[in-house]
Symmetry: C3
Subunit: 157 residues, 3 copies
């Protein structure tokens, strides 16, 4: 029993904010995400991809960005809670394919670290977490955008 | 035998038009879709996702937006026809993961109704239709965008 | 053993450039892709989708657009190299679903030729390559955007 999940995220970028991707701070970023939580666009889209595969809503249901309780929230906690929900439904992630669209900085040198960290957070080997980086080619110079597709496999009844 | 399908849709929004999503009218929408048909961006992207999984073209082939015959068309008829084509090819949808990007109104309160309606239209249990809502974060304030990923399973030879 | 892959591409369009999609020149295009290689947005997104399914990075790793060696590169060579890498990992593509977003020209009349060519390049029957065409509805009139989802199947240990 296999299911597909798909999720997206976007954040506006501004100076004076941190840029965190897959739980990894990007030290060379001149701009970071404007967000209620820590603005980790990989983990947000990944969490939504996993929730969609089991039809359990999206992270806005569980962590509304209007709730002061979640201000500055570490997105690893969001992903952790989502993994609990997915496993309670009897599913586990099989593999993940994600694309980050960001004009600057170039992220290629951080691919291995980000993939390794995402893999550890979801409990998969690194060989099951594909990470691609693209630029917006002028379409969104002051935003980060992420899109994540995942397979999930049923592990219990 | 499993196949993946993927489809997208986008429509410009304007006052004085209805907003219909997954066959469900959104009564609180100040702007609706500018479209030749009823502009249901969920059902259009879903129909294209299903067609792509069986490599049968896209809805523009079957319902060209230049044909007066399809003016104001109820998109449930588009999806119904596409499901016939998919089933004739021997496939049936297994699960669906969809993302709607829309700045206003917030749609979270309508998630269950939209998911239930889409599930009924494609003949799946609600547990197989994941629906996520995002905002464009300033990238597309006067548009609705949808992206749909689906798994299809072969059911006959 | 099934894996999902997902990839994207975008290019700015300008007069005086060729538009090539899935290895097929589009003769009626008034604008083509501004790119370091031949700018084939279908093959770039497809190559990234396949790499992501086996977690082997993206085409920027193998064919950096800062390297004069790859100026004007035929993207069929990129895809060919990526297929070698995927097969070395023990996987082969099962089916492909791709969306091209482009305002002009309309591409519907070229769908069969593009699908046939992509299928031949990846070694799949045409029945496993779904091709959809969309317009940006005003969001990106001077760009081409592509998104590709693929299933891969493990064929050896
Ligand atoms: Mg976010
Ligand atoms: Mg539409
Ligand atoms: Mg490219």
């Amino acid at each position: 029993m296999i299911r597909v999940g798909y999720g997206e995220d976007a954040h506006r970028l501004a100076a004076g904010h941190a840029l965190i991707l897959g739980g990894v701070p990007v030290p060379s970023a001149a701009m970071g995400t404007v967000a209620h939580s820590d603005g980790d666009a990989i983990l947000h889209a990944l969490a939504d991809a996993l929730l969609s595969g089991v039809a359990m809503g999206d992270i806005g249901d569980y962590f509304p960005d209007t709730d002061p309780l979640w201000a500055g929230l570490d997105s690893r906690a969001i992903l952790g809670r989502v993994l609990e929900l997915v496993r309670d439904r009897g599913y586990t992630p099989t593999n993940i394919a994600l694309v980050v669209t960001l004009d600057k900085p170039k992220l290629g040198s951080m691919r291995a670290e980000i993939a390794r960290n995402v893999a550890a957070l979801v409990g998969l080997p690194e060989s099951e977490v594909g990470v691609s980086f693209k630029t917006s080619e002028g379409l969104a110079p002051a935003h980060i955008q992420t899109r994540v597709t995942a397979l999930l496999t049923r592990v219990k009844d």
